[in-house]
């Protein structure tokens, strides 16, 4: 089951014979619950080396070698059963059987980071007090062994009153012993009843943890590891910022310089395919649909796949390495100065991929005011859907030259990402001024161990990204391009028309109507048309431009080559204006719908759309006028 597949069949159908045993994976953030979930169920839920990746419950099914059927619920990480954030509340509610849609689990699988027992044992002791059938999965035992940490497993079992199994969730067969234990326990769960209390006296629990640690830890972990030495550089008040800037800079340089060859191959392939199809099909409306609508439209989006994959490669490497929480730590002061919680870093970082999961990730933020502020600015972070638009305009207008050791196109892309970050911080600052600053909550962030990125995980992550992107291209973008082609083709030009036929079409007329609105910011009617389907998803604007320009073209040879077409017909001022528009571009229905869902109100969603439209228009207007003054109108 992939992360995006619906559960194919009800649980009842999964096991026709025996009762399905429900397992709940519970533990601190970043202790390996989702890795264990994936290992048990064969799912591909997102795993990363920082806290707060899972913010909703997820379920999967597996059939054990012994013939038992299990339903596994992966829960958001929690430090305690006294929840501070909405995601922790989900864990508590499921565990206590307080969800309307979910019975309490039959067995609780407590996942514990073996290298950090002191912090992880609190929730273990709380769950133990519930007196539910439970098993402790002592995870990351490989890392513990490398550090020289030795734990007396038998003694730990006695102390906490539940079986303990050593696991390494990221390895194949790393959970076999756990499954065997679960099978043994499953036979007796029918008789279990909830008869305990999870209430927690923090001081008493802490004393108990210290006592248990003294009894079970045979040898403590070695200190001054490679990670400690690296942290002295990465978290240094001066060097740390230099490292962070260098990493970000490298990413955006690589997006252009590494992608050149595969992008050119794809572009040539799309052009050749368009020409071949055009030559093979008879003249008529079907040929126009396939060549000008589908190949030109979809083809102009699909050529950006290499750039998207390179961007995600770096994001995945950073996620797996454990560097991201360090970056959050470094940026906490800056975030605090504009009224944001340090916890906002991870949601904002997720928004570089897409604002939808970024907005969901705000559930880890305790303060409602901070959470709303983070939601409101998340779409300003440059999501991957903007990348095709940026890459198209940069490729057409910015020469591929070097400035010193840097690629100029990469520099412009870096500047656009910085503009997104700067505008998000500015809006957060304004929100702070309008709503007042909320009570300061110091950033409590777990700094995980550094890990070498796992090649298999990286490959899998990139495959998932490619699959998601191509699925979007093959479904919704394809559908929108076909609709776009229809609106740009019909009705046809009247007898004796002198303008291109598209000028007389529905889309052409709409574009000319909108031109009055967008003319002050330097957009032509083709851009005005493209912005409308771009409301569905930002990158659709690129495909729409491809279709519109293909239908405006007079010769088949230029019908699918969008980049030279816009380079010839747009001024530099128009190009910069469009880039400025897309720094703020509010066009994303899914993001607005997610804001509505997460805030339970349309008001924030409408406010977001309004302020982003206003900012986009203002930024484009200023950019266009300044560029004209500087001679960019030619």
């Amino acid at each position: 089951m992939s992360c995006c597949d619906p559960v194919a069949s009800p649980v009842a159908a999964f096991s026709a014979a025996g009762r399905v045993v429900t397992l709940a994976l519970v533990g601190n953030p970043n202790c390996g619950k989702t890795a264990l979930f994936n290992r048990l169920t064969g799912a591909r839920q997102k795993v990363a080396n920082y806290a707060g990746v899972t913010v909703e419950r997820k379920e999967g099914l597996f059939h054990s070698a012994g013939g038992r059927d299990f339903k596994v619920i992966d829960l958001p990480g929690a430090y305690s059963l006294n929840p501070l954030t909405p995601d922790e509340a989900i864990t508590r509610d499921v565990l206590m059987g307080e969800r309307e849609d979910e019975a309490a689990p039959d067995i609780v699988v407590l996942v514990v980071d073996a290298t950090n027992l002191r912090r992880n044992l609190r929730i273990v002791l709380e769950v133990a007090r519930l007196k539910r059938p439970a098993v402790l999965a002592l995870n990351m035992m490989d890392v513990a062994a490398r550090r020289g940490l030795q734990i007396d497993i038998k003694r730990l079992e006695q102390e906490i009153g539940m079986p303990v199994v050593e696991t390494v969730a990221i390895r194949a067969r790393g959970s076999d012993a756990l499954v065997e234990r679960l099978e043994a326990m499953a036979n007796s769960v029918e008789a279990s009843e909830y008869n305990g209390s999870g209430t927690d006296d923090c001081a008493v629990t802490q004393e108990e943890i210290v006592r248990i640690l003294g009894a079970v830890v045979i040898q403590d972990a070695r200190e001054n590891t490679f990670g400690d030495r690296l942290d002295r550089i990465v978290l240094h008040p001066v060097l740390g910022y230099i490292v962070l800037a260098a990493i970000l800079f490298t990413i955006f340089q690589a997006v252009f310089s590494w992608s050149k060859l595969p992008t050119d191959v794809l572009k040539d392939g799309v052009t050749a395919f368009g020409a071949l199809t055009g030559a093979w099909l008879p003249e008529g409306v079907l040929r126009s649909l396939i060549v000008d609508g589908i190949i030109a439209g979809v083809g102009s989006v699909v050529v950006f796949l290499p750039q998207i994959l390179i961007l995600f490669f770096f994001i995945l490497v950073l996620e797996e390495s454990g560097y991201l929480p360090r970056a959050a730590f470094m940026l906490d002061r800056m975030m605090g100065s504009v009224g944001l919680s340090g916890r906002a870093f991870i949601p904002l970082l997720s928004s570089f991929a897409c604002a939808v999961p970024g907005i969901m990730a705000t559930r880890t933020i305790q303060n409602p005011r901070d959470r709303l502020a983070t939601i409101m600015i998340a779409p300003l972070m440059t999501c991957s859907a903007r990348l095709p638009v940026y890459a198209l305009v940069i490729g057409a207008f910015i020469p591929e030259t070097d400035v010193g050791i840097f690629n100029l196109q990469g520099l412009v892309l870096f500047a656009l990402y910085l503009a997104g970050i700067f505008s998000a911080m500015s809006v957060a600052w304004v929100i702070k001024r309008v709503h007042g600053k909320s009570r300061y909550l110091p950033l409590m962030l777990e700094l995980p161990d550094y890990h070498w990125p796992n090649v298999y995980s990286l490959a899998l992550g990139l495959w998932e990204r490619a699959r998601i992107f191509l699925t979007r291209v093959g479904t919704i973008i394809l559908s929108l391009m076909i609709v776009m082609w229809f609106l740009s083709t019909f009705p046809g030009a009247p007898e004796g028309a002198t303008e291109p036929a598209i000028m007389y079409s529905f889309a052409g007329r709409l574009g000319q109507m909108l031109q009055a609105v967008v003319e002050p910011v330097g957009f032509n009617w083709q851009i005005a048309i493209a912005l409308v389907p771009g409301l569905a998803a930002r990158e659709v604007a690129v495909g729409a431009l491809g279709t519109v320009y293909a239908l405006s073209a007079t010769g088949d040879d230029v019908s699918v080559a969008l980049t030279p077409m816009i380079a010839e017909t747009w001024s530099l001022a128009t190009a910069f204006s469009l880039l400025a528009w897309y720094v703020f571009a509010p066009q994303c229905i899914s993001t607005l719908a997610m804001v509505r869902r997460e805030t339970n109100s349309w008001k924030p969603a409408i406010t977001m759309a309004a302020y982003m439209f206003a900012l986009a228009y203002a930024a484009s207007f200023v950019t266009y006028r300044v560029a004209l003054m500087l001679g960019g109108g030619a």
């Binding site: 995006c4 997102k46 419950r57 999961p357 709303l372 699925t471 559908s479 076909i482 899914s590």
Partner: protein, 93 residues
């Protein structure tokens, strides 16, 4: 013939776009209208299919989301109100 084929492709594309982006109330109203029409034509199987409740599926990774990192596959329940954000105006000090 070309025109018929193109019309069919465009209709399918419109249906796909509407299915993804039209508000649920519009979709259900359209389905009700279509089911009524199907019954008038004695196409009862089609009408029943149109009137059947939609299966619970995730829209993860389709709409604007190109980076699935945690979408709930379960249908929404009343408890989803727990995420409501309520901002209280700060008192003057």
């Amino acid at each position: 013939m070309q025109h018929v084929l193109v019309a069919l492709i465009v209709l399918l594309a419109v249906a796909a776009v509407a299915r993804r982006y039209a508000p649920p109330a519009w979709r259900s109203a359209f389905k009700g209208f279509a089911a009524k029409g199907a019954r008038k034509l004695d196409w009862h199987a089609l009408a029943e299919r149109l009137e059947a409740p939609p299966p619970a599926v995730s829209d993860c990774g389709t709409g604007g989301c190109s980076a699935c990192s945690g979408c709930d596959l379960s249908p929404k329940t009343a408890s989803s109100g727990e995420f409501t954000i309520v901002i209280q105006r700060p008192g003057r000090s």
